[in-house]
Amino acid sequence: MRPFKFTNTKNSSAAINLLDRNPNASFLAGGTNLLDLMKEDVERPDELIDITRLDLTSISSITRGKNAGGVLIGGLGKNTNAANHQLIRKDFPLLTKAILAGASAQIRNMATNGGNLMQRTRCSYFYDTAMPCNKRSPGSGCSAMEGFNRMHAVFGWSNECVAVYPSDMAVALSAMNANINVMQKEGQIRSIAINDFHRLPGNHPEKDNTLNHGELITSIELPKNNFAAHSAYVKVRDRNSYAFALVSVATGLVLDGNKIVSAHIAMGGVAHKPWRASIAEALLRGKAATLANFRLAAEAEMSHAKPLFHNKFKVGLGANTITAALQLASKGTDAVA
């Protein structure tokens, strides 16, 4: 690992100023992604600003204003605490499920909510500094395009990068239309809709998201929703636990009897960002909650996929996973598969 200066502060503005004045500095939160990448020489900050002592860990209901009924989750809170907080388990169980589907208990005890959003791709060529990779080293080429791309994208990729974004938590946040609140220099606050937070690779795969250097994620806002009783997170992976998704689906159904008032569906493991399955959502609106309708909508969504050489299986798997998640959600959040 390269040498770096270590600083810590309890003050958010101080942390932002420290980061802002050094383009090679990084925030250190749980460290579960950043340290790993520093050991691999993929990330090379010369200064780390430890932000784990900032007072940004609480979880609280929003009781007033247009966002009343929602919940604010501190950006520096741990994934374990977000998943297990009573407010989240009761009213936003989809988030609990998605967080608990990721990593291991140890890692969730370390990982922060902000750090989770910022985690980088697990594309193996991105990790291997001997291989070309446009995300790690812009202009060097994409090794995965013609390489082993079984884990890679089927939606929204470009010729520059076919990587997928690995967070489970963010897939649930996407289905829930969360907002990411960030603080800038001089204390200004900016709110970014989760579906605008991460980017598609386009010509700039080195940019995972729309956060600027010097901005700090202070909280995540979950707007009130009506699908706590009918939500599901289904994750398919190569082994049962402690592995990244091949495909995952977060869904919430607002039902009126057997009629679907609205369906909220986001996918993980298929694109450079959480992929909102808006084609399937549109098809399900107003329809009966039946297996046949679920399958139709799922297949319609996946018919737009553009698989690569090694990941054609994700098209069928995606349709099956959407169908299974919708069916589970229609039975009820605590239903067993």
Binding site: M1, P3, F4, K5, F6, T7, N8, L28, G30, G31, T32, L35, D36, K39, L48, D50, T52, T80, A83, N84, Q86, R89, K90, P93, T96, K97, L100, A101, A103, S104, A105, Q106, I107, N109, M110, A228, K235, N240, S241, Y242, T333, D334, V336
Partner: protein, 259 residues
Amino acid sequence: MSDNNTKLTKEEERLFGDLMPEELNEIIQSGLNRRHFVKLIGLASAGLLTSHLIGAEQLFARAIDMEIEDLPPIAIENGVTVNLKVNSVGKIVLIDSRTTLLDTLRERLRLTGSKKGCDHGQCGACTVILDGNRVLSCLTLAASCEGKSVITIEGLARNNELNPMQSAFLKHDGFQCGFCTPGQICSAVALMKEAKEGQASYVSTNIRETEVGMMLSDDEIAERMSGNICRCGAYPNIVAAIKEAQTGKNIEQTWLFAG
């Protein structure tokens, strides 16, 4: 050494510029560190310092407050002093900012119970209990642990009496080679607290209600222990040991002596 950013005098800048041109910028920005110091000693023994005697005196004067005797024979850069409680004993260590908690425990505090399996968060062999929660010490910077309390496998027994989880692992043969065992046991001990609090897992079926003091099924134990890989495949025995430790009830061993 993070705060030795004393400004260099013009004399010193010239001295370092002559001796270590590559390092000059670094020294100006973050001060003299141990790697520079070691290099200077090398130069001194090669006789290259003689023409810079005045500067050299100042160098050595600065070097003295580096607590050299307390350090391992490696170069420390960007030193950070950390106060830690390790198995209930207070420790103060001066470490390179890059040092993980795992390396601090193993290399500096000589607590080699915690193991380095992968060093990348993928195996759980380095699991320790930090402020009550299980974490991976290979992905934790020691510098970020100021004021925290660490429990390692060495700290679980009380006065020669094993922790019940340790006894259960022994009884059920929860290991073969034993490499993953310290991590497994620390993980399992913390898991008992999580179950008591009613923390959920991916396989829990009652997400919307919190059930405190939950008794874990085999599936729940397997899912919650999935962050600890065992290459010997002692999993069934590990699950049996955890069940016994949790229920306090005698559970049949899954193995028998031959004959």
